[in-house]
Symmetry: C2
Subunit: 95 residues, 2 copies
C-alpha cells in the first residue's frame, strides 16, 4: 500500500540518517521532509521501529500515513521552481 | 473530509502567509510544514487556489492529501520532545 512519511527532526545527523532509511525502504522524496512509496503494513511498522531506534531519545516527530488509491487520486498539488526562467507558466492542479 | 497539507516553501514571508491560510481554514499544525484538518473538497480547492495566488511565481511545493477514516486509523506516529527530563520514556506507536 502507498504511504506518506513526514518528519520534523531538529538534529541534522539523525535527520539525514532517517532520510536514508526512507530511501533504503524504497520511498521517494517528494519534499524536504516528506517521502512517498509502496510499503506493506509490516514494512511500515519495521521502518518506524528502525526510526524510533535511531532517534534514541533525540527530539523528533515522525508520522506515516497509509494513502489509499482513492485518496491518492484526489490529492491536489502545486509545484513551482521559482521565477519563470524561460517564460513558462508555473504548473499546478491535480496529479 | 480530513486532509493533510504539506509544503516546502523557501521564502519565509510567503511560507508564513501560507501557514496563516491553513490556520484560517481551521487546519491544525502537526509539524513545522504540515497541517491536518477537516475540509470539504470545495474548500480544499479554494485553499489551494489561494495558496497558488499567494505563491505567485515564487518557488514552492504544496501537496494536499485527503485522508479517509480507515487510513487515518492506520497511521503510525512517533513524537519525542528530546532527552527525557523527568525519566519518562519517549512515546511512540499507533495513534
Amino acid at each position: 500500500m502507498r504511504c506518506l512519511l513526514i518528519y520534523d527532526i531538529p538534529d541534522d545527523r539523525v535527520r539525514t540518517r532517517i532520510a536514508d532509511f526512507c530511501l533504503d525502504y524504497g520511498l521517494d522524496r517528494i519534499q524536504y521532509s516528506a517521502f512517498v512509496g509502496e510499503l506493506s503494513s509490516n514494512h511500515q511498522e519495521e521502518l518506524m521501529l528502525k526510526i524510533q531506534q535511531r532517534l534514541g531519545n533525540a527530539a523528533g516527530k515522525v508520522e506515516l500515513f497509509p494513502i489509499c488509491r482513492q485518496d491518492w487520486r484526489s490529492r491536489l498539488s502545486i509545484e513551482q521552481s521559482g521565477p519563470a526562467v524561460d517564460g513558462k507558466e508555473p504548473g499546478s492542479g491535480r496529479r
